[in-house]
Point group: C2
Chain length 301, copies 2
């Protein structure tokens, strides 16, 4: 699992910082999470192939989280990327994109599929053989969801030495991986545990931005491996955080602590701060494992 | 008159090139012309004060000419710029912007005035004490206008030596600047030409992008000082230019030659070309005074 931060600063793009966008690579799938203005250029700078982006998750319709989407779609179209795009985001996103495509008379040469979200409850919005994605309803000034990405439990791994020792034929290997016990020709029952190793523990990543301090997320993100939680402000601006429905670093860390996650990554810093190190310092007073997102940074998780 | 090129490449923003946007400074007014994705960052990089941008002209609703507009408006609002914004562009631009403001529930704290264009004829769309702006209907795949910026003729300039010699009182100076003759107390009529200098010749700038070769623009831009004309392609791609309703460098130069403009600036280069020098070489086979636009370049005109 690998996370690439394309942008992690609040509000407005600037010369050297970018609004929210990140790419999560999980089980060889790439998921684009949020798409602030300039995301397509950030993808280029971070050498992420456009053609690998097929699923896009938009948390909410504030500009610093989606103004880059229409440009991304247009560029994919101009460059003749021909994979379908699936876009998950708040109701209204389809109208915004389709209006602009209609007025520019520029229809993409690939399928554009919208999954508009309206629920206030966590829901499963994506599932394939290896990965699940669920929404994490957040508390912000407009309808907002975070997203929980979960690997499914892999099949058990064949213990080649063991199966060869029992002289089991290859045609049974798939059954063994699926968890079946094996009855040998001499009537001996060999339990699956003797023939396989445990699969790797499935990992999970929760993206929570933008949100006020909100304990309602705890049951959804409980024991998640990695939590990206917005920390727009330091504690000195706690009142401003409450007013604008954002979090402080300490609030983000409190959520991490209470949800018993393994690792917290902070981001969505207000551009009022000249340096971001204090976010880590403040968060670590509450929760020990804190990393700081920054534009262009990658995390091998 | 000063022209700053924020972006002048066709189609998609890339790591080191930007889609169309430019700032024309004329008579101490700043006019923003087109607003591709990333324009707000280009304004920052070129140290152009956001607060000086009040008039925005959008040629057409292809993304590389307007996808940066919603982000610009949002940023002006977030930064509490409180000057009204006046936006001139094709019908539909208001719906695009208002839909996004409505869905993000982010209303700017300044007036936002839209002037939607639908005419196929050149029309006067802006006028103040010193400057006029007229549309230049262009020929492209969607409804498109270029813009002609014209200084008005200044008042005549007072010849201080002359008025003092005739001992004319100061209260008459404004009348003299307005062109009036003066009757002295002794009955002598002093003609205005004796008391004033000619004003500077008013200058003009024509922006023509995007467009196929289109002689219909000639009467509108005739004898313009500076013509910015798109040259998306070199002559080797003349058929592609015709098909996509763009121009070649030679076609742009032919328009410049036939319109008897003083200076041609080329831009809107296709990103297929590694270097842009050949655009100048080809254009100069038809018209002598050719300059190449490039991102971040300024022209003191």
């Amino acid at each position: 699992m690998k996370l690439t931060i394309l942008g992690c600063y609040a509000a407005t793009p600037r010369t050297f910082t970018n609004p929210t966008s990140q790419v999560l690579e999980i089980k060889n799938r790439l998921f684009l999470i949020d798409c602030g203005e300039g995301t397509q250029v950030q993808l280029r700078k971070n050498k992420i192939k456009f053609s690998k982006i097929n699923q896009i998750f938009i948390s909410h319709l504030h500009g610093d989280h989606f103004f880059g989407l229409i440009g991304l779609i247009s560029t994919f179209s101009l460059l003749n990327c021909n994979n379908d795009l699936h876009i998950y985001g708040p109701k209204g996103i389809k109208e915004i994109i389709m209006l602009q495509l209609r007025l520019s008379n520029s229809w993409p040469n690939f399928g554009l599929h919208f999954y508009e979200l309206t629920s206030g409850q966590s829901e499963l919005i994506y599932e394939d053989e290896k990965v699940l994605v669920k929404t994490i309803p957040l508390k912000h000034r407009v309808y907002t969801n975070g997203f929980l990405f979960q690997e499914k439990i892999d099949k058990r791994k064949l213990n080649i030495e063991a199966v060869e020792q029992y002289q089991i034929e290859k045609c049974y290997y798939q059954n063994i991986k699926n968890g079946k016990d094996i009855l040998l020709d001499d009537g001996t029952l060999v339990s699956n545990e003797q023939l396989t190793f445990d699969p790797e523990q499935p990992r999970s990543y929760a993206f929570c931005s933008d949100t006020a301090y909100n304990e309602a997320v705890l049951p959804i993100i409980e024991k998640t491996d990695i939590l990206y939680h917005e920390a727009t402000f330091l504690q000195s601006e706690v009142n401003l955080a409450a007013k604008t429905m954002h979090s402080t670093a300490i609030e983000a860390a409190t959520i991490a602590e209470k949800a018993q996650v393994k690792q917290l990554i902070l981001g969505h810093y207000s551009t009022r701060y000249e340096a971001i190190e204090l976010f880590k310092v403040e968060a670590e007073t509450v929760f020990p494992n804190v990393l700081l997102a920054d534009d262009g940074k990658t995390f091998d998780l």
